[in-house]
Every structure is written in structure tokens, then in C-alpha cells.
Amino acid sequence: MLRTVLRTVIASTAALLVGAGIAGAQTPKKGGTLNFGVVAEPPNYDCHGSTTFALVHPIAPHYSLLVKFDGKEYPKVIPDLAESWTVSPDRMTYTFKIRTGVKFHDGSPLTSEDIKATYDRIINPPQGVVSIRKAYYADLVVEAPDPTTVVFKLKNPMAGVLEALASPFNCVYSAAKLKENPRYPETQIMGSGPFAFVQHVKGSTWEGKRFDGYFRKGQPYLDGYKIFFVKSGGVVPGILGGQFDAEFRGRNPSEKAQLLEKMKDKLTVHEGTWVNNLMLVFNTTRKPFDDVKVRQALSMAIDRWGGSDALSKISILKFVGGVMRPGYSMSLPEAELVKLPGYSKNINKSREEAKKILEQAGLKDLKFKLLNRNIPEPYTPAGVYSIDQWRRIGVTVEHEQLETKLYQERVAKGDFDVAVEFQADFMDDPTAQFSKFLTKKLSPSGYSGHTDTKIDEMYTKQRQTMDVAERTKIVREMERYALTQAYNVPILWWQRIIMYNKKIKGWYMTPSHYLWQDLSTVWLDQ
């Protein structure tokens, strides 16, 4: 057993070092088709109305963005269609210089008008167009004074403007085509990204071919890419059988062990934190979850530090953290986190205290239902672990696992006691990360149903604070407050494990599975 573990660690470390070293040193080779698996299929092709990686992974190579996150140096924002930008001294105006000579796949030129039309569609979607993040950009006004300039003016101060504009969902569409039909992106793909669309065989494959008119000279390196839509359980057999060479969302530790055992030094492995967590949402409109003490007691029963090590071996749940991703510049340092309810490293003391609180509240034999999705990874381990932890303070919990659609209906209606909910976005910005901690008045995903406007006020204040140090201070205060009020409490943050055939180079892992998927820098060493 020990030998197997050692072998795995050595192989994984070697793969990491060798993979990173070679990628850094070698000159990219041209040609070849990248085959990779995606474990879900996009419902339609419109980036602006989507929240899923199932759309990003097949579609991102077809589109350009105004700016994008750097895969090598996340969270640095780098130019894409923008060549450069300036920010006014009051930080209320962002002026972008657009590259010249950029073409759409149909040969038409891309200008600032296309970028304006794209953002207008996101901010003020026409009738029938779904724009999921329109509230996020509500404070922006877009102007295109000339073909190579785009100006974003802020109606109110807004922090993290560049990061918000680097959203992988803000695909730039053709203004002319939008004018003809604002809903064309739902069914047609016509972007200016490194790869042109070839075909989508529903339930089977997706293909893209190199766009020779791509604005970054010499890129992309690949002739094309082919996606195989497979069930999650089909990824490891697919890679081992040679059907495809990678999967870029993330696999679990058991799959990593299986692939390492069979592929040994032919596998590159990346591991790191993921901007995703699972949290418990207490329905504060139901008794006894309206009582902060009860919510705190239930959080205090969960041994996050003790569970982290073991759960990380059997699931993607791994890192202990608060509302912000552990390790992110604005997250609460561990020394402060352990002082908050539910984060103490002395679990026995914490549980004794939790028992006392419940006894005092007359809830010695508390019983409730935990609503969860019936998705095995990582929802089931999170539910099983939480239920076990609550049993240890005498609380009996029934696990109710439903199909995602039924689950979402129940959560949206507020028909639950406690729910296991995810937090996932393309970036760490607190404006995104706190969206599920707010009142329903401010956020439709404020599922806990609390009416505490103090958290909303802090949220708005941080959003409007441009100074990073000042904003960090507010965010940390907000995190302390949110975790103490415990309307929602994170269980554990996810680990992202990406594995692919060693011949794939030029792909860099970020903490988000939505980012760095345009494949422009990817090449095959064969």
C-alpha cells in the first residue's frame, strides 16, 4: 500500500515537473488534432445566456474576448481583442484600444462596433435574449467613438471591472449579424477565435478547425480539435483506450490513481485549488434555522480540518476555507478563520459547545432533512459527511437527494430545511463569490431567505471600493460577518485535478474550469 502511494506521489510529481519543464522549454510544433472529452453538452450555443462549462469547453476556441485571464498568471488580466487600455484617474472610465485587422470567421472585419453590440446585448438584452449576468454589468455604459476604441463608463463606482470584462462568457459577436437576428448566437457559431466551427453531432462529437485568419500570428498551433461528449464514468476509459487524450474540467483522486497506474510517465497531472465549494444553506424562514445559535451549532459540529484529508482522497472536496477561496489575496487568513464558529481545530470542544447550544434551545433531538442533488461527486460525499458529523451531536438528518431540476425548483421555492449548494464562478472576485450569501432582494440566489441587509450593505460597499487594500478590509469583515451569521456555511472547497496525455503542451491550469480554454496556445508534441 505504502509502495503504491509512494509510486503514485513520485509519478505524479515527476509528471508535474517534467510536464512543466518541457512546456516551458520546447518550441511549439504545428499540426495535429487535439481530442478531448467533455462530460456534458451545451443546451444551445449562446455564451451570454450560459453558466456552464459544457458550453465554454466546446465554444471558447471559436470566440475572442475583449480581455481575458492569463492562464499562466491567473488572476492577471491580459489583452485579447483589446490591444491596450487606460483607466481614468477617478476609475470611472475604461478606454480600450482595439486591435486592427481582426476578422470574423466569415472574413468580415471586427471593430469596436461589434464589441459595443456584444456588451449592449449583455447589459440590455433585446426581447427574447437571455443574458444571465446582466445585473453584473448594469453599472456600465458602452461607447464606440471610433472603429478601434471602446469606452466603458461607470454609472457607479465598481471594483473589479477588468476581471468582470474578462468573463469567458462574454464572447464577442458580430454587430451586423446581431442586427439581423439578436438570437443568432443560440444556433450559429461565428466568432473571431483561433478555431472555426466545423460541426456538432449532438450526443456525440464537436469539431473545430484552425482559423488561418486568427489575429495572433502563428497561432493556433493545432490543425483542429475534436470533442467527444461522454458520461463522467467514460473519461478514464476514454483516455486509456486512446479515444481522446484529455478532459479539462477536473477528475477525482480515484481516477487520478487509475490513470497514473496505467499511463505512468505518459501522463501530465495538474493539481490545485478550484474556485468552487459546496456549502450548507440554512432555510432561515423555517424554525429552528431562524436562530443564529442553532445555525452556528450545526456548523460547529462539522470537522472541516479533520475531514479535509480523508475526503480529499475519495472526492474532489479538499480545502478548508470561508466564503473566499483559500489562498486568494482577499480571503481570511487561517489564523482568523479558526476563530469563527465551525472552523475551530479543536473539534471535540466545538462539538461539546454545539451540543450545549442545542440543549439550551430545547433541540436535543433535532431532526431535519438535508436536500441535495443526486450527483455522486462531490454532492453525495458532502451530504454523507455532514449527516455523519451531525449524528455526533445527536442530530438526526434524512438525506433527500433529487434530480438537479427538482432540486433547483425546491431550493428556489424555499421548500427545504438545509440544502447542499455549490458556489462556482469564473473568478475569485468577491462580487461573484458572495452572490449566494445576500438577501433575495439583492440576489435571486440568496436561497437562505434571510433579510439581513447589513450583508447587502457591505456587499455594495466593497463593490464600489476601488482601493484594493480598503476593499480587502471590507471583504474580510463581510466574510467574518457572513460566517458568524451562518446563513450559508461552506463545507469544503474543491481540488482541481487535470490529467492529460503528456504529448499535450501549452495548456495551463487556472483555479477555474471556465478559463483558458480557447486552445490558442495548445500544441501536440508528436
Binding site: E255, I314, E377, T380
Partner: protein
Amino acid sequence: MATVATTPSADALPKRANPLWQFIKVQPLGVFGLLIILLYVVCALGAKWIAPYDPEAIDFAAMLAKPGEEHLFGTDQYGRDVFSRIVYGARTALAVGILSSMFGCTLGALLGAASGYFGGRIDNAIQRVVDIMLSFPIIVLAMVVVAVLGKRAALGIDWNLIAAIALPIIPKMARVARSSTLSIVAMPFIDAARAAGFSHKRIILRHILPNIVAPYLIMVTAFMAQAILLEASLSFLGLGVTEPTPAWGLMLSGTSADFYQTAPWMILFPGAAITLAVFAFNLFGDSLRDWLDPKLKS
């Protein structure tokens, strides 16, 4: 001289063999099946005393332990004792298996008896509904019911799951009950009952149903195996029992499949428990049919 007829003494009459003993003698395989079923029943009823560990208690220190002295069947990814989960899992399997096959068969028998007894339009209408129900694969029908109804737990049992499993049984039992009823309604005692002015309800309940008890019992035992298998399948698909409740099908599903190479005992033992239970119920059901059906006695 008048001859007085005398009743022969009890000793003089040919002895009627004890039916249980007769069954044991004639159907040894059925007895074997019954013994396995009884073993499961003992496990289900005495789980608290038989299982060495709490089946839901997580013990990460014992994660994926091999079968051995401490854990007879090893442990799963949460360090839970597989043997204890199988013992407790018998409760779920038998509760769902017995209740759903009994509900399904009882409703099917009533429907079939009514169909055969009334005949005509009523028979036609019932049989067409039965035809429609039979046209769906069992698992698909059960999945639809589970998806539509969701969960409704009481007394630790998901009654909607039982309904989902019972539903595909109804038309099959209804067909069997109808054909038995058709032969019974042609018998003179039914005409006599009608002539005596008995109500339809009384004739069905008092005269027809008691006469289809034999096929009913055979079908109940046969469907118990199917119900156990269906419950395991639904749990495997994530539609039946939910974690952390110990259930055999559930033990094979979800992330358990990720560990089949490193910890094969996690799927071998629950798989064996399902196979053995289905085998036992089928064996017992077949033997019961052979024993009760006069046509097969020769």
C-alpha cells in the same frame, strides 16, 4: 339384518402427510431457497445484534480496509463496515421487496378478478390498460414513477419507491388472476352464488379470490425477487434509497464504482447479497409453483 354403516376410525383412514413435511420432501431446492430467505429475514430483524458496527458511522481511519478479522467484508471509502451495511441492507431489500410485491400482486389480483368476473366492456377496458402498462419496460415505468412522485418517507420506508416498484407488477398479476378467474366463473358454485342473489363484491371476495390464492402466492414470491432487483437497480441509478442508508444497490453505485479496482470487496459482497436473495426467492417461488399447481404435480 340391517347393516349399520360405521365411520371408520381415524387410525383406519389413510394418513394425510403434513404439508410442510411434504414440501420439504418433494421440493428440497425450495427448502434451500426458503432457508436463505429466512437467513435474510433473521439479518433484517436482528441487524442491531448481528452487525458489529453502526452501518452509517464514518471511520476514516479504517477507509478501504481489506476484508479481515476486524471487518469481515472490509470497509468502503468512508470506512464504513461493508458486512454491517449488508446486514442492515437486508431490511431495505426485504421491506421494499415484500411490500411492493404484495401491494402489486394484491391490486393486480383484484383488478384481474374483476376483469375476468365482469367480462364485456369492463374486461376490455381493464385489459387495454393492462396492455399499455405491459408495453413499458419495467425499469422505465418505475423510473418515471419515482421521478414524478419524488420521495414520501414514513416509518423509515419510501412509499413512493414501493409504489414505483409495485406498479409494473400490477398488470402481470392482473393477467394471471384474470385467466384463473375465467375458469372459476364457469364453475357451478359461482352460478349458485349468483342464483342466491349474492352481490358482485361478495362473489369476488368470498368465492373467486380464495380460489386464486395459489397463483397469487406463487406470483408474490416470484415478484419479490424482481422487486429486490428493481430496488437495487433504482438505487444504483440514484433514484431509490439515498445515502447513507444501507442498501445493496446503492452500495454498488455512485463513487463506489471508482474503487472497484483498489477495493473490489466494496462491490463484490453487495453484488453477492443481491444475487443470492434473487436466487433464493426464485428457487422458492418455482418450488412453490411446482408444489401448488396440480397440473405440474405429476
